[in-house]
Symmetry: C2
Subunit: 192 residues, 2 copies
DNA sequence: GTAAAATCTTAATCTACATTAAGTCCGTTT
DNA sequence: AAACGGACTTAATGTAGATTAAGATTTTAC
């Protein structure tokens, strides 16, 4: 079963006994999310964090003018949620939906916090996970402030090689912060 | 002594016994960093994380064209380091220097990791700290992608009310991602 | 399998912000 | 107190990327 993928992910940072592995896996709920279906709607509470084993989810906000801005893609082996809502349990500002047919394991905030107390070293894994997310977010922020669109596109392709040629280009445009028309022009130039 | 400020900061998320407080505080090193002095140079290792008790530090990168991009300000009660270098112990991509005469307590990576093992609940505090930083970084990323410069300036003033009128305007411009000339024009419009 | 809808491309025009440059107002240094 | 460099302003000109619009191509739905 693909529960193993979660265990493998956790064991990147910590070692878990068989008993601990069992305790963990029974808290995850398997779910299929078909293309265009939502895992989280803006204004709801982010009850769960998802670990994707197949397909791809994305998180995004919608601005005053109705434009989407994609914060994160989550292909296989990535974690995704609305961190703000998940940790504060206040209304989310993000939407999360599937851009491909997706399979994921969901873990509720309540169960995660309970697991932190039952398996203290689990807290280490999620601290490290969050540290790495922070570094990634800061790196992207600096890039957004300092690099022109063409290089941000190149960086996107390096960060998400597995989905760069599968997902719609307008999603990539929304992620790197340009219009689909402009991205189309950029790609036309280089022929890539 | 101002060590108390660190303890107060930590006790926002966890409760510490007197013994634990003592164990902690002896690991922190007090340091004065005068205006324009560096705490970290690009290419060095970020050995320490700093907790600022007075003044203000900033972290920033310098792009290919020599322009500065400020990632974070750290006035009193804020933590600051180059997270990438601090957690990976690879060469930093950021500089950290003082924009005001500053007093801070430094904690080395080595001592922090030792403390995580000696006081497991400390890991919780830093997980939560990192979670909040991540939420802040993601919020700013979305804002950078979706809001015009004028509103990003307003948001800066809300995030850093204590320093908005003390630090040079060119620093604010570098943080919100515009030239000093354009920020000057923005401010001229509203008279603020 | 075909119609409708969504996505992608191309091109003309427009705008938020950058660049350049010149001048003003500091706070420091000597 | 003069001289200096750094910070801020103003204004003319330049440009990366937005907007609008129209057609071409691919995907989805029935």
């Amino acid at each position: 079963m693909s529960v193993k993928k979660i265990i493998d992910n956790l064991q990147k940072n910590i070692v878990l006994s068989k008993a601990e592995q069992d305790l963990l896996t029974e808290k995850f709920v398997f779910k299929k999310i078909r293309k265009k279906q939502f895992m989280l709607h803006e204004g709801m509470l982010a009850k769960d964090v998802a670990f994707v084993v197949k397909g791809c989810l994305r998180s995004y906000s919608i601005d005053q003018n109705g434009f989407e801005h994609i914060l994160q893609f989550a292909p296989a082996d990535w974690w995704i949620t609305d961190m703000y809502s998940f940790i504060s349990q206040k209304e989310s500002t993000l939407n999360i939906d599937a851009i491909l047919d997706t399979e994921a394991y969901l873990l509720s905030r309540k169960n995660l916090l309970a697991l932190f107390d039952e398996i203290p070293k689990l807290e280490r894994h999620f601290r490290i996970l969050t540290e790495n997310s922070l570094v990634g977010s800061q790196k992207r922020l600096i890039e957004t402030l300092s690099l022109p669109a063409k290089e941000r596109y190149r960086n996107f392709c390096n960060t998400y090689p597995t989905i760069a040629h599968i997902i719609p280009q307008k999603s990539i445009a929304s992620y790197i912060g340009v219009t689909p028309e402009f991205l189309s022009k950029l790609r036309g130039n280089t022929g890539k």
